[in-house]
């Protein structure tokens, strides 16, 4: 069955597929049941799979993460939703201090196959605390995986992989592109690998690497640059932790240049890690400094200013031109 669907619908389709396939998969979170989630990511799931398996939890983020851990130790596969990433911090004690550590601290006796889903990122004129991109905080933590899809097809395949993964996965959904594009996705239960960079466009001059919603601007920039005869290779990082270093290095060895594009603030970010990997492992291939186009190290502004914060196509193009001229 192939459908033309949005990223949001792809999330729903993956959840539905896996719930039908595996009765141990449990969806829980605030307003995920009858209401189908505030973005409708879990629309229709409770009706189809029952209130025991699609649980409207009380308004308590630590509960959502903490009870998922307990369920996981009993063999269930909880897929928990944090309504917005801005509210994930109350769940961090549970996710970081327990979920990430359960396998290690019991020498494999217990494990924590859970997924924590959260919409994240700016650009939709949302209220305070609804627009941040704090993926780097989690990428720092040993024992978890961090995954961010950037298209309906990858949302479908990566979410299936995240649910089936035997360890805790943070699955961040770029809400700015929830409904931006549609794509034909075959609902065949096929997962994508969780350790792979996806090459979205091939090119010889410069590697552009990004993830989530920023790939939209990044790909636009690549089109603009192609008209100027600068050919970008566009990579979707997809799995933020662990990083597919091999594909990254192969690309940069070919192009000799790399520009990293991210929505998150600059300091100690995922872009910092990618730049460090290239400094350690690709120095002799580099023809120009690795450059970053990122959000600023400011508090995410309220929405009247947020478009100044978000990396634009123009900033990406300008940075690539600098790199090409170096």
């Amino acid at each position: 069955m192939a459908n033309n669907i949005t990223l949001l619908e792809a999330v729903n389709q993956a959840l539905d597929y896996e719930m039908a396939e595996d009765q141990d998969v449990i969806v829980l979170g605030e307003d995920v049941g009858l209401n189908g989630g505030v973005f409708r990511a879990t629309d229709g799931l409770q009706k189809k799979h029952g209130a025991d398996r699609v649980i409207d939890t009380p308004l308590a983020e630590s509960l959502i993460a903490g009870m998922s851990i307990g369920m996981a130790t009993q063999g269930l596969k909880p897929v928990a939703e944090i309504q917005f990433m801005g509210f994930i911090f109350a769940a961090c004690d549970q996710f970081i201090c327990h979920a990430a550590r359960m396998r290690n601290r019991t020498r494999g006796r217990l494990s924590c196959p859970m997924v924590l889903r959260a919409p994240y990122g700016g650009g939709i004129h949302a209220p305070e605390h609804h627009s941040e991109s704090t993926e780097a905080i989690f990428a720092h933590i040993p024992g978890i995986r961090v995954v961010i899809p950037s298209s309906p097809g990858r949302a479908y395949g990566l979410l299936l992989a995240a649910i089936r993964d035997p360890d805790p996965v943070l699955f961040l959904e770029p809400k700015r592109i929830y409904r931006l594009q549609t794509e034909t996705v075959t609902n065949n239960g096929e997962a994508l690998p969780l350790d792979t960079i996806f090459t979205l466009r091939e090119g010889d001059d410069v590697t552009l690497i990004s993830w989530g919603a920023m790939l939209y601007e990044t790909q636009k920039a690549a089109e603009v640059l192609a008209e100027k005869n600068i050919f970008c290779e566009v990579l979707d990082l997809a799995t933020i932790k662990p990083i597919d270093t091999k594909t990254l290095l192969n690309s940069v060895e070919k192009t000799g240049r790399c520009v990293i594009v991210q929505e998150a603030a600059k300091t100690c970010s995922v872009s910092s890690e990618i730049a460090a990997i290239l400094a350690e492992k690709a120095l002799t291939s580099l023809l120009a400094p690795v450059m970053r186009v990122t959000g600023y190290d400011t508090i995410m502004p309220l929405f009247t200013l947020e478009h100044h914060y978000m990396p634009s196509v123009e900033r990406i193009v300008a940075t690539v031109l600098d790199v090409m001229e170096f």
Binding site: G66, I69, R105, R107
Partner: protein, 368 residues
């Protein structure tokens, strides 16, 4: 003026079977009804003595540099013993970190407990109770794991029609000030989960006395907000603990939802071996607490009631000492884990970047 009318009334009862003077309250028949015959009472006594013997040995090991920081359970043996004796093997026990008595009865080996406090993760790889959780160091966090476990058990019973398994979670008096504790009570009651909460109120949270932890007259009453049946008991009275835990588990197993027990006990030791309680509590308070400790109380009852002679009690002590020594020998003879083990259990399959770092640890490459 509009006069208020009570829409719901609350009260908290205190219960006790063997008081601090080792006098049995109520009727002997109540003991029989609870299954507390002489053999059972001696079994409870044995668990408490084993726990205390182990505990003092662990402190000796720490003082002589053969164990890391250790959290003693001195004086708190009774409630843990009751829990350990009442749970079925298929139930799940969720500890804080001071529940040695319960762990021993669950079948956790003494050498495993020593390994944990001796800085070796293998100590949490319990062989006998593979579903029980390891110690929870972030205070109160375990209460939420227990909610998830009990949810899974409830779902399982619904699906399979098998007898309801239950989960029992322990937390301290300090833990009852945390959000996780309240979130757990609220959710457990909402879903009427097969879950028993036991607050081990040992009067102290490191240096903070019970009086500065909460204005609530009892900690049990915190359950009232969630509409969970709650009771306060003498946590140093192992017979009363046994009866109360038995009833609470029965209720939870029978589909009557979560239950809460506040067990009043006393931490006779420092908070841990890294703490010096003389800085914040008086010698007088400590001496008074020693008067109420659980083992002396039960041994006096056993002797007074002529259920056991001194030589029977001495034999139990001797056997416990031998068992502890044997476990310590195993612990001390345990080879350390290979250093690669810190990489092995992070993920089911070791990602590439970790394989590189492992090679670096082994000296096979540099600084990668």
């Amino acid at each position: 003026m509009i006069t208020g009318k009570a829409v719901k009334n609350f009260s908290i009862n205190f219960s006790q079977r063997l008081n601090e003077h080792a006098e049995l309250l109520g009727h002997e028949k109540a003991l029989q009804r609870a299954g507390l015959d002489t053999d059972k009472i001696l079994a409870l006594y044995q668990t408490m003595v084993l726990t205390r013997t182990f505990d003092s040995k662990a402190i000796a090991l720490q003082r002589t540099g053969r164990l890391g920081t250790y959290a003693s359970c001195l004086g708190q043996e009774a409630i843990g013993t009751a829990i350990g004796h009442m749970l079925e093997a298929s139930d799940v026990f969720v500890q804080a970190y001071r529940e040695t008595a319960a762990l021993l009865k669950r079948g956790v080996k003494m050498q495993e407990i020593l390994l944990y406090w001796g800085g070796d993760e293998r100590g949490s790889d319990y062989q006998a109770c593979p579903q029980d959780l390891p110690p929870a160091v972030p205070i109160a966090s375990q209460c939420l794991h227990a909610v998830g476990i009990a949810y899974a058990m409830q779902l399982e019973a619904k699906r399979t029609g098998q007898e309801q398994r239950v989960c029992l979670v322990v937390c301290g008096d300090g833990a009852t000030s945390k959000g996780d504790f309240y979130e757990a009570l609220n959710a457990a009651a909402l879903w009427q989960l097969p879950l028993v909460f036991v607050i081990c109120n040992n009067q102290w949270a490191i240096s903070l006395p019970r009086s500065l932890q909460s204005h609530s007259q009892t900690l049990a009453q915190k359950a009232i907000a969630a509409d969970i049946p709650a009771i306060q008991i003498d946590g140093n009275d192992v017979l009363g603990c046994y009866e109360t835990v038995q009833l609470a588990i029965k209720q939870a197993r029978g589909g009557h939802g979560p239950q809460l027990i506040e067990a009043i006990t006393y931490r006779l030791s420092d908070h841990t071996t890294a703490d010096d309680a003389k800085r914040y509590r008086t010698e007088e308070e400590l001496q008074q607490a020693w008067e109420k400790e659980p083992i002396k109380r039960l041994s006096q009852y056993l002797l007074d009631s002529q259920r056991a002679s001194q030589s029977v009690l001495d034999n139990i002590q001797n056997q416990c000492t031998q068992d502890v020594e044997a476990a310590v020998d195993i612990y001390l003879a345990t080879e350390p884990q290979p250093c690669s083990s810190m990489f092995e259990f992070l993920y089911q399959d070791c990602p590439v970047h970790l394989q590189e770092q492992l090679a670096s640890l082994k000296g096979e490459n540099h600084g990668q």
